[in-house]
Symmetry: D2
Subunit: 380 residues, 4 copies
Amino acid sequence: MTIMKKIRLGMIGGGIGAFIGDAHRRASRICNDYELVGGVFDADYERSIEFAKNEGIDLKRCYKSVEDLISAETKMAAGQKMEAVAIVTPNALHYPFAKSLLLAGFHLVCEKPMTMTVAEAVELEELVEKTKLTFALTHTYTGYPMVRQMKDLIASGVLGTIQRIDAQYYQGWINSIIHGTESRITGVWRLDPKHAGASSCMGDIGVHAFNLIEYTTGLEINEVLSDLNPVKEDVKLDLDGTVLLRFGKNLKGVIRSSQVCGGEENNLTIAVYGSKASLKWGQENPNYLYMLSDTEPAKTFKPAHGYNMAFAESSHTMPSGHPEGIYEALANIYKGAAKSIRGEKFTPGEFPTVHDGVRGMKFIHAVVDSNKAGNIWKKL
Amino acid sequence: MTIMKKIRLGMIGGGIGAFIGDAHRRASRICNDYELVGGVFDADYERSIEFAKNEGIDLKRCYKSVEDLISAETKMAAGQKMEAVAIVTPNALHYPFAKSLLLAGFHLVCEKPMTMTVAEAVELEELVEKTKLTFALTHTYTGYPMVRQMKDLIASGVLGTIQRIDAQYYQGWINSIIHGTESRITGVWRLDPKHAGASSCMGDIGVHAFNLIEYTTGLEINEVLSDLNPVKEDVKLDLDGTVLLRFGKNLKGVIRSSQVCGGEENNLTIAVYGSKASLKWGQENPNYLYMLSDTEPAKTFKPAHGYNMAFAESSHTMPSGHPEGIYEALANIYKGAAKSIRGEKFTPGEFPTVHDGVRGMKFIHAVVDSNKAGNIWKKL
Amino acid sequence: MTIMKKIRLGMIGGGIGAFIGDAHRRASRICNDYELVGGVFDADYERSIEFAKNEGIDLKRCYKSVEDLISAETKMAAGQKMEAVAIVTPNALHYPFAKSLLLAGFHLVCEKPMTMTVAEAVELEELVEKTKLTFALTHTYTGYPMVRQMKDLIASGVLGTIQRIDAQYYQGWINSIIHGTESRITGVWRLDPKHAGASSCMGDIGVHAFNLIEYTTGLEINEVLSDLNPVKEDVKLDLDGTVLLRFGKNLKGVIRSSQVCGGEENNLTIAVYGSKASLKWGQENPNYLYMLSDTEPAKTFKPAHGYNMAFAESSHTMPSGHPEGIYEALANIYKGAAKSIRGEKFTPGEFPTVHDGVRGMKFIHAVVDSNKAGNIWKKL
Amino acid sequence: MTIMKKIRLGMIGGGIGAFIGDAHRRASRICNDYELVGGVFDADYERSIEFAKNEGIDLKRCYKSVEDLISAETKMAAGQKMEAVAIVTPNALHYPFAKSLLLAGFHLVCEKPMTMTVAEAVELEELVEKTKLTFALTHTYTGYPMVRQMKDLIASGVLGTIQRIDAQYYQGWINSIIHGTESRITGVWRLDPKHAGASSCMGDIGVHAFNLIEYTTGLEINEVLSDLNPVKEDVKLDLDGTVLLRFGKNLKGVIRSSQVCGGEENNLTIAVYGSKASLKWGQENPNYLYMLSDTEPAKTFKPAHGYNMAFAESSHTMPSGHPEGIYEALANIYKGAAKSIRGEKFTPGEFPTVHDGVRGMKFIHAVVDSNKAGNIWKKL
């Protein structure tokens, strides 16, 4: 065992009160491969400084802007310089910051959606290819051990020919906003096309269902036909929708996604049905993977068992029956990115890549286009 | 309490080896309102007679044809004559037999799909209106206590504005046929348009999901857009499909139905999401009804509790925790039909009517048409 | 296929408003092997007659007493005479009626507990042996397909050495009585030692858990040590208790039973843990049998699958995913008894016997004795 | 918001390959209140050094012995000195190290069981009282949000009078050892009384069930009667057992615990039944708390909802439906200890105390004594 130096991590966004930044920091600490050394934690510099103080971060590395960060850090010595940056800003800022940071030589961990447009996404993909830097997109759900087991079981062929795919992502939290329990203004930038992009429901959560399908099956969705619903007249974006999917000959599927399913918490599910067997998984009970078959009793796979494949087993640290959760899933992605950053060997699928980001943007835009054009098929 | 004379029941189809006829007879015995007195149990008269012997039925009332039955029974004395007939033949025979029997004055319990075409369905509806006879269509799942509780809870308004509806009916049994484990020939008349009608998956099971939506919500689906899948090249009917639904302004939904979901048994589910609360029910665990809300712990309704509404409570006879199943659901429908036949008071919804049959046929044909026309919206 | 003449059934008890008599009649109709021809339905003859009228039973065969019934029926012609009798009276009457009826040559279906004392139980067992009559004790839960599958799986040895057995029977309905929501007087003969016998909780429900253990494992419990709880000072019988079990060398277990577990409905469970695998089943979701193992994914067995053993498969009539319930379980026991009455071949375990009744009485009395003697071991 | 300096943490044990030490470190990083600065990570100094290198710990603070640690650290400046120590050694070493460290002024986080004997436990309790140092015992399961919600709901009185308590802790992992799949020697110090103490099953896991009962209900168990089982002849400790519990007048309960329940993973459950309502929780699905009632639909409490009480809500950081797991539970305990160490206000119950350790030791020894004495009642 060799000494594992921690990767010097920066963060853009994620300051005081930012839930997602906190999640990223916890994940980076769980896997223990990173040390947070600086960043631009808030657009408001005072608040950024306050955050840095609380976290015990060197105030000199608490920057006023991404430009300042790049300028200062790139001048530091090799053993000091920030190596990777986590981008956890509002959606619209992902692309410009990612571009600048890649051009400046930083590895990136980026929240999704990766960009606002397909063109931006493709541009980042080309940049990553050119720079050979690591780019991890935090489709967090791919970090769950049983999602990885699902991926490997499907790759092994146990399902036979895949015949139907059905994914769902239902939440209900936006009810309190559109029905006035919470203010729409303080409430949610997600309802504002300027900040959220072309889509609310599909862009924020439907795309996770999309990603999960492509991640677990290794298949690409060719075409979509969508019917979206803003639910209330004065809402400008989709809060709900269904997307018909076509993969290739004889394989169809569906993504159902909604933010107005009152009482649903974070109900992301995927079911892949094959000619020989089927697999079902749900995010709210992530340590259970169900394999159905017409000829055998249904099987329940759980983490920390010899019957799992290697990738799933390496993604869980506790003994069986000791549930790990979403922080550990995100930590697995950070762990995968760390391996890549250090040039170590890693399993494909250990972290979602810039290519997953391009696919996601294509999905979101095809879905929105299909709906606008009157529910017709659109190619990705 | 007055003496409850049993209704003299006849049966068309349902002879030796017929699963569905046996189910109808059990249901009629559970509710104890009927006495099976005769019928045409099999197209093969010898087998019909054999069946009648086994059941202890008067062989004189075991007829060679529906015409014979009508001719003989209509001549009998009022206290002897068959009063109601259960039609449990292959699909294509439902309509002609139902028509003849209604014209001859018999009350009917009819298996679904009610007819092969919308026109036939409408004709039967007109006949029922004219004759004032009882016509019960066995959408069995409406007989479950918790489905009835769902119907009444929704009618009471506890969900607020309904914002999304999602129903699923997944089975996997046709895999063994299309993949050759079982012979396609002996296998399944359901794959043959002549016997099954315009649709396999949607006509056989998707229509149950449709019915459950309209039954529980009291809403009508206005338009559908479908994408169906025969899955294998040489299959002529849909074995799988997704149907986008539109109800009215701002309310959309989806029906997902498949017969190739390997390992799924009889996975019919419905979820109705409202602005204030939501309800979820699944057929495989029929005694559990879940109410979700953004502001309260999720609630689980079960039969035989004072907190249920009257209709649900009258649909369950055992104390709480003693599970009743699908035979009892069907018995509830037979019980409702018996009340109607006897001219007693009954709750709307105690049995699905000929109108439900018309709606179902409209659904099936709109779905098939939408798919054929290239996945465009079709009105019901 | 030969003609299956229905067995002429009588019933003692079970008149108007009697829940358990209704359940027996439904079960006998579901399996279709019986015809209810007469009985003593109520201690009050007027009510008995009223019941008979409602059911369409020949009023001449509605008797004033069991003696009258025996006297009249035994004089009838062979093809007319009542063949079997179902005893569904309060507990204290099971024994005297069973004895008289056996001596008069009637096959019996008897509710549990079979008797009030062990001596009575042993006497009935001897009578059954001598008369060779069929005696079915309705431990209804043994009629569930997955309980039968559990029995056969254990017999097949797949569990290895059994290492621990844990059964539970929790209900909460007696809360409303002891806490005064319902009157104790109209309430419940079960709290009165005169009618209920030596025990409430253990005699009424604990004994089911006991029976399920011996039924599924084929093992005999040797000794028990119990701690019972009347919960309220003025209650004379146990409403709650735990029983330590010893089977033989190195195998121990526990039965937990209570009638004061507020909110529990009818939560009977059994878990049998072996060196190679384990099985778990619960009555409230009776169509799920779970097999756990340290080395394989957990398996879920469900009815109507080729992977089940013959006994379970013959105990379910619907296709998979169409839930059958407790009435069908009881019907399976009636079906088994019918086979025995007709002298047909049947599977051991198709109905609980008088011997199960003897074991049950021994269990109840050993448990009560252990508690009284200060929680010491008592042999069965 | 003031700057939150991290607490300088040491660790005894927990070196390379030690699962539990890793868990403690992750937990301390998740809550972000600690910085690991040194320790005695392994009895083998070379391995200890190797571990320190990998973790990036100052090698000068990687000590050869606890004595060395105390000697060196106590001489350091106030702002440098280790403040708290986590003891994650084999059981027999907890007591001597805890004693030395307390006497030297270190706050402690100690793995359970706290000591080998009751006397040692009492001695530590007295030391903690005298020194006023923080002593957190890692009964990890008390860190789950829904366990805390259960505690607070019970304290609020919603259950009415508690009438029965039933806790279970079933595992199966020891099967592979006693049945020879894994070597008993390399296998498990837990089977060796010298290292494990008086009990295997009760000492290792039964005591968690005990703790959970006292933690959630606030009640004390007065007496126990146990029947333990070594399962195999050559095993010297209990691997399985049942413990009858008495609390006070009219309240009884049971703890069931086993390490030979093949296929069970970490199945710790608790059910508390009251006259008005009941609560059930299970560790394998820790984010679900069930409230049962005889008069209302069952309710499911989940974290991150306004309907929870403050303690539960402060114990979960993700939005609802994003499952947190056992690491986060342990982090909550570390967080509570940190508040205490810093002299901040904290909720009673935020971390298990030395008193819980005393209670646990009394439980283990009373259980072992009861069994040895022939299954008689023993007071705690």
